[in-house]
């Protein structure tokens, strides 16, 4: 656990500096490259120990999360798509009324019911950013990471699945799942 955390931190740092400092490039050229690849540098964060798993205790944006927006992101197939794998019993009534938007909930992963009783807010933030820190073999995507990935399709290169504010919004919803 400790080793993988150090490795993870190291990679994020290398990834970040790699984006910011590109030696040998003329300033103008560098600017153009940055714009074209548009990998808006990721918000940096600190990982620390939580009671169950590692955690990111500080908000990524400093802005309070919007629970309703978080719910939207969680069911959006192109964004969080959490319900592709997780059941959220609380949303079942809505799913029955709006089957198109909520589709069918997947059964691959443990239901998210009660997630906030199992993990602290900081730990949930960590799971959203990159669940592999806690579950190395998991199928769950890292939603806020762009480093150490293989053959990412052009339009998603250097980009995270969701934004830092999306993470905070989803978190605002997750902490209600006691």
């Amino acid at each position: 656990m400790r080793l993988s955390r150090i490795a993870f931190l190291f990679c994020s740092i290398v990834g970040l500096t790699g984006l910011l400092i590109q030696p040998g490039m003329a300033a103008g050229h560098k600017k153009k490259m940055m714009k074209k690849m548009a990998p808006a540098a990721l918000v940096s964060y600190k990982i620390s120990d939580g009671p169950a798993i590692t955690a990111i205790n500080k908000s990524l944006t400093g802005k309070a999360g919007d629970k309703a927006a978080g719910e939207k992101t969680m069911v959006n197939k192109k964004k969080g798509n959490c319900i592709a794998c997780h059941v959220i019993t609380k949303l079942k009534a809505k799913a029955a009324k709006n089957p198109k938007k909520y589709s069918q909930m997947g059964l691959i992963a443990p239901p998210l019911d009660g997630a906030a009783s199992r993990y602290t807010e900081g730990e949930l933030r960590m799971l959203l950013v990159n669940a592999k820190v806690a579950f190395p073999d998991t199928i769950m995507p890292g939603f806020y990471r762009a480093d150490n990935l293989t053959r990412v399709m052009g339009k998603f290169k250097g980009k995270t699945v969701i934004s830092a504010q999306d993470v905070e919004n989803i978190l605002a919803f997750l902490v209600t799942l006691k």
Binding site: I108, P141, L149
Partner: protein
């Protein structure tokens, strides 16, 4: 004592008979192909098992299978002269029902002149360019899909039969590597969906083992048949990974490995899938 043995024997015979009656033939649809020892799948199942009953029925209905149009086109092309040599497949291969029987179950194979693998579509196109002096068909063309279905159909009911040997092993290894490698922005490997979670629901889809025993398959979503190579592209794109080209070494190696995973599964071309 003698009576006891007789009774025990009778019991044994009865239980063998009964278990025989309860057990369906391992066809990958109602009973799995069982693997012992060093195989990633203890039980091998056809994608058929996970389809809705009406989708299964559409596949099973000899007259209603929507791929029939393509199968018929393939059959017609088999005896049609083409290219500057004005030759037809039939002139060299005679009756496909005999000459093409079992071919699909052992493809892709190592092809010496290329020093690498060749898959069924590539083999068909090679016959066209080399022997008929005709143009190679495009991957998604109705002609290539039709001929491939027609050829592969001749193996229906026969088990997938990839033998890993000295020649194809390096390519099998590469296919295996692809299978277990995470890729794309969503960072998933084939094995995540098709080995760890087959039979389970990913949103509204039931995941299968991702087997190759029904290709080219008629996919309801595509509204036409598609090759295994096209399916690979789709599965790469699903995880937001840059797909490879159809017929690329990467995918042909993967095709060999995927067919090997399904060894024993009866062929069922053209399958119908959601």
């Amino acid at each position: 004592m003698g009576r006891f043995i007789k009774m025990a024997l009778a019991g044994l015979v009865a239980s063998v008979l009964m278990s025989g009656a309860a057990m369906a033939a391992p066809d990958g649809k109602s009973a799995p192909i069982v693997n012992k020892g060093d195989h990633p799948l203890p039980e091998v199942w056809s994608g058929y098992k996970y389809s809705k009953v009406d989708t299964q029925a559409t596949q099973d209905d000899e007259f209603e299978n929507p791929a029939n149009l393509w199968t018929e086109q393939g059959e017609a092309l088999w005896s049609k002269k083409d290219g500057s040599e004005k030759k037809a497949c039939q002139e060299c291969h005679n009756d496909a029902k005999a000459s093409m029987k079992g071919v699909a179950t052992r493809y892709p194979v190592y092809y010496k002149p290329w020093k690498k693998l060749i898959n069924l579509e590539q083999r068909i196109n090679l016959c066209r360019t080399k022997f008929m002096k005709a143009k190679a068909y495009k991957w998604k063309s109705n002609e290539l899909l039709g001929l491939t279905i027609y050829v592969a159909k001749q193996s229906n009911g026969m088990p997938q039969a990839i033998e890993v040997n000295a020649q194809n092993k390096p390519f099998w290894e590469k296919g295996k590597e692809h299978y277990y490698k995470r890729r794309g922005q969503l960072d998933m490997a084939c094995a995540h969906c098709h080995e760890k979670y087959f039979g389970q629901k990913l949103r509204a889809n039931t995941l299968t083992q991702g087997q190759n025993n029904g290709f080219p398959t008629y996919r309801l979503k595509w509204g036409k048949p598609g090759s295994i190579q096209r399916r690979f592209k789709g599965c790469n794109k699903q995880v937001r990974a840059k797909p490879y080209k159809m017929g690329s070494d990467e995918y042909v190696n993967l095709e060999l490995y995927v067919r090997w995973r399904g060894n024993g599964l009866p062929n069922e071309t053209p399958s119908v899938r959601p």
